[in-house]
Symmetry: C2
Subunit: 134 residues, 2 copies
DNA sequence: GCTTGACTTCGAGCGCGCTCGAAGTCGTAG
DNA sequence: CTACGACTTCGAGCGCGCTCGAAGTCAAGC
């Protein structure tokens, strides 16, 4: 199997993943994505493994993992199965950060909702409560 | 009351809020914070209203409201009570964004946890599942 | 009177994560 | 043979949110 027929062009991948072609190439040149297989023309052909990796990157990105850490993760992944424990550790540390952030976000969202309620009271004609003085 | 005695220096505010003195001045010069009252020496003296405003900014910042929007909000606030409805609208729009982000974050966290579990299975000696191939 | 140190202003610089555009190559359609 | 359009590389530029440092002022203590 010299060239799997499920290969996608960079444009197709961009449409599928929502990552721009510019960013896809950028990720590759910084080493976040391994060199993508090429057609004879030199054009990139993304296969299943690339798509799975991009999916993971999207998740890490969505949870605001900095590129630095994703790179670290990527380098471990390239070194193969012997780094599974290290990758797990990295991911777990990230999980903890995300959980903390989530909690903080929820708490803050709570006070934003309270402020909205106080605006509603003010708009209903009650005495402006002090939280509104600015 | 020419100078309320509860006034804090910029350093004290920095310690209290966790916002650096550099950033406090930066916020003031871009108009995110109204000109802070000064001692005769020209030094800033932060009072209750400033601290309350900074607290609100911290919350908006924690929920990742861009400075642009905070500025919009600040400008409305300066225009007084007639802008309460507009401020409410702005804040509510933000609330909706935060809620969406929170949901997305939770979903993504879920798949991260799954990946961690698959690492654990791999480390326990089972056949590496395909999610680990990179 | 002099030093110390906390403040002041101002403009430049930085780290992050893209984003863009110029210039070139390739393969197919007319 | 030409024109087109989708791709390629590469380096420069950008928007955000600070962050820093130079140079000056002021008040208090020795």
């Amino acid at each position: 199997m010299p060239e799997p027929s499920d290969a996608l062009t960079i444009r197709e991948v961009a449409e599928k993943t929502g990552i721009t072609t510019h960013t896809l190439r950028y990720y590759e040149r910084i080493g976040l994505v391994q060199p993508v297989p090429r057609a004879k023309s030199g054009h990139r052909r993304y296969g299943e493994p690339e798509l799975r990796w991009l999916d993971l990157l999207k998740k890490l990105h969505a949870t605001e993992m900095p590129i630095r850490k994703m790179l670290e993760y990527a380098r471990l992944a390239r070194r193969g199965e012997t780094t599974i424990a290290a990758r797990r550790a990295l991911l777990d540390a990230h999980r903890i950060e995300v959980e903390a952030k989530l909690e903080h976000l929820q708490a803050t969202l709570g006070t934003i909702r309270k402020k909205l309620a106080s605006y509603d009271r003010a708009l209903a004609g009650r005495a402006p409560d002090h939280a509104l003085s600015r």
